[in-house]
Symmetry: D2
Subunit: 337 residues, 4 copies
């Protein structure tokens, strides 16, 4: 950590800073330049995170040098984390597919969708039983009834179940039915929920908050890892920008960047990012070319009747041709799909 | 709701759309222009919110006409809501002050801060017992112990207590000690938590999410109101933009805009918005000039030792002179402080 | 154009609106709903663009239906525009490469770079003779001297020259040397410059402004087309968002979206978007997978000495391996590179 | 400037860095921490701006310490700059008003507007003769004819003229008629135009680009100052964010922040920021409370017929009551208006 002093700081300010650093068990390295004096704090700067150094007399600014996350960082673990779940691997050479409706609407529709996906090689069925809806008057999901529908369809198709957890009080319930627990974009900084899923023995898909920086996403992953659960799958799903033609702006540079900063698998959700079926296939291809370990895609047999996210849900036929295109791109980058 | 048809739509598409609207109990008003045919859906368009009309064949786009919120809107209730809490009024001519440390650190420090604020006429003491921190390694608050400290200081000073609720499981606990419950910026779309505070009998301060639109803020307020709790205080606290000199960008136009769209009181938190003490006074004055009903300001007796948000906490002396300036501006706009 | 009336509008307001529309030669289609009355303006709504209807008494809001651009739209011309320039084609099956240094620094360095690119099949050499630099104290480019260096290297290598025009007063000069004229991101809404290049007989690369919407990009293209020059190549180069790990956020969804809205070729500049060499290859692959017609990439033989944009310039060897990867992706999506 | 080395850097890398710094005439101060080695470059770091240190072998990142602008900084000149123009002062105790229509439409309308403003004490008449319009099909301004109308109305009313310069080729022409030259938001980084107005002997209003950081705004001011013209008035006019209820988001924290960083006067344009008359008065009051030295406000006698920006133009009566409110706020903060 570098502490830049104000041009008008006093010698007393400087001495006080050195003393305070030493009190924290850190060394202080003073460097007097022509225009500014700077103090380097030598030692584990994580000790200083809690200390409001900017408020100390004589301090102009503070420049951190180290990253604030540890367990999820590449420096901590250099090889890729491969997450195994009931015979499937996430983060390896095989690109995984997570597909299904936004919300579980009925047993019949879910089954119909799943039966259209399973022959295409989709390993994971996604569908919400608890839905975070912007309006209190919108369909909020079937709750446990929906979870049971997912489990029943898993029984029938062999596809594994991914579903969202919204409330710490539902953790046990959701874990009873889910193979992978999803933390949604609006809950990326619901720290209590993160702590909760840090204590379960299931993989977690952590979706990037719609205005979260890469660093904040990794800090939220660190929350989960700090509790002992390192089976974390990061998901880029678009960030909020000024552009209104698409629902969000898919930040694909997050994929190679995260691959560099962390050992965790990274998947992409083009459906929520663009919010329009016509752009989903191109963005799915691009995600794979950028190095994604998986795709999370909304598919519905009758989007025009979907209770949620119809306009961004692909029909099975369109999804099948998306997969064909994506397969070719996957091979081009040395992966399989 | 206006449905714009694609230039290449068929007559069959049009008839299907009319039929589907009628099935929902809505009238359909067709208008054939030179370049586009449009269909106006006559009736309560809230019925259509759940319907993915964009996915219907022949549809190019859908333009809503009505606002998606109701109970919190000015149209629903034209006069200002004034919230009464233990003898204080929020939303009336008097501008209210909510001040205190970011986190409750110790009984002694809290008391020292409160005793510096009370003589200045601050009616509400703020302080977090549960802290949503970006890092799992940061101080997370004292929990119930912190709530008890707040209650003890209320006993001593007569100031009312505002504190944050982060987890639906703590609702009863927090309500036992708080006079006003705060929902933080990261929980503005934690819909389960909103539902929870919709069922309590305490006023709620709802902070705008850092990337939430005004419409989303009002939808979150609607979640609370829909459960029966209409004692909602909206709080503008800065939005996330590309500018990095300030922690967030304080969107003061939200104040007059919200005043127009809703009957609820609107307060402003300049401390979190700018994140630097040197800019807080100017933004506090501007907030009042823009029409805010209250100010939420971080004050600490020793910011250089604060466990959280030191760089944005004012010392009592600086806060006192801020109040003097703000009083003059309040009078200039016909309010008292 | 749909005009939504205020709930409290008077019959006189309505009649005045109808009359004013008729005065403009438009029909008015009135539709009285349960909650709002709306008026559809029948006719060419472009007539109304200049009219501040929102300010008319009784009007609540105005919803445009048609797009504000015409010549550059797919509706105007459905087949892809293929731009031919000295034997090369942009916008066809072949993906084009535009590579070179940010700035022309010296004849020797430019030559060295070009000779490393030409054997790799790069058709277009890019390099700035006029540089828009954020600081007045930074290297501003060699001007005509730089243009002459570009022309000399073209002579030697056969590569075509792409270079930026910053000032309408330099149009004749730049056109004397350039094969393609580039309008930089900071000049996307320099409407005088757009008008200027609308009158030349050279293709123009129009870079998206760093905070420009897709619609604004197309309106700027329309400025050029309206003067008669339809040889316009759109370039996505990253938009400004809150994320600071990358220089900008590459909005790859702009590629399929533009392909849908316009007939013009679309290329991608991953170098300026991410600003870091380590992420350029992944984003170049993704751009091609998303459907880009070309790549604009900064290459330098000695980035550590570059006078501009060193940190985002690839060395020739890294660029060569990027091309190999991109070739495979290009084939996977049915293109050649 | 602080150079942070990669954990895996070699001794040779370190020596090379030191040598290169010394070659530039700078000292190198090495500090080996537990986790990182850092090198402080001692001397004028502006020398290093042009050097792509991030690309040097062994370098992880580079942290600048000094601000990149000089002439416009408070460090360079501590007292406020007060700009005098024909008997008026900008930047002093008196808050200045710049009001008028967006575009000069006709001599009659301009006169009518000016005659409504002059009795209210408005010193500066604003109006565009050259208009940067998003669409090539919109009214582009009357050019010199418009400038002549402005001059004629100045003759008649004594109000000084503020008008926009869009093209370096019009500099002489615009200066012939204008008392203050305005550089619009889309031209904030039109560096040729900045250089041009750096060489004139008239004050310049420099509007913040809609996605420009404070630092970039100051760098653009530095461009003008570097040519010798220090009569620069900075103007905050709203930045582009995700919020769509207002045209832009007025960043009022820019006012106290700029006051701290620079000695130049700072004015605010609430009209363009919010884009709706109903919010202009509140934001004007807030701007003054935040410390603005002036207000730039669009006023039109018949907004419903304005050729440009009707929806954000106040009528004279509404403007007069805005002024009354603003006067009271001005007095509350120790200013006059």
């Amino acid at each position: 950590m570098i502490i830049v002093l104000k041009p008008e700081h006093t010698e007393e300010d400087l001495q006080r800073i050195v003393r305070r650093l030493e009190d924290k068990g850190l060394g202080a390295h003073i460097s007097k330049g022509e225009q500014r004096t700077i103090v380097g704090a030598i030692g584990d700067e994580r000790v200083l995170r809690e200390t409001p150094i900017e408020s100390w007399p004589g301090v102009e600014s503070v420049l951190p040098i180290l990253k604030p996350y540890k367990l999820v960082s590449r420096e901590f673990k250099s090889e890729d984390t491969i997450i195994k779940v009931n015979g499937q691997e996430i983060g390896g050479r095989q690109i995984q597919l997570f597909a299904g409706p936004c919300a579980v609407e009925s047993r019949e529709i879910l089954e119909e969708i799943a039966l259209s996906l399973q022959p295409l090689g989709v390993g994971f069925l996604r569908g919400g039983a608890f839905k975070p809806r912007t309006s209190p008057y919108s369909f909020q999901g079937w709750g446990e009834k929906g979870l049971k529908m997912l489990a029943a369809v898993r029984e029938e198709t062999g596809m594994l179940v991914v579903t969202e957890l919204m409330d710490p009080r539902d953790t046990v319930l959701v874990c009873k039915y889910a193979d992978i627990v999803q933390i949604g974009t609006r809950n990326m900084q619901n720290f209590r929920l993160l702590t909760e899923v840090g204590n379960i023995d299931k993989p977690v898909i952590l979706k990037r908050g719609m205005s979260a920086t890469i660093k904040e996403l990794l800090m939220s992953a660190e929350y989960i890892a700090a509790q002992g659960n390192e089976k974390i799958i990061l998901c880029e799903r678009g960030i909020r920008t000024f552009e209104t033609e698409t629902r969000n702006t898919l930040d694909l540079s997050a994929v190679p960047l995260l691959k560099q900063l962390t050992h965790l698998p990274v998947i992409v959700d083009p459906s929520h990012a663009v919010g329009r079926v016509d752009l989903v296939p191109a963005m799915a291809r691009a995600a794979i070319a950028a190095g994604a370990d998986g795709l999370l895609i909304e598919v519905h047999v009758r989007p025009e009747e979907a209770l949620s996210d119809g306009p961004q849900s692909l029909r099975p036929a369109a999804f099948a041709s998306l997969l064909e295109e994506c397969s070719r791109v996957a091979r081009a980058v040395g992966r399989t799909l």
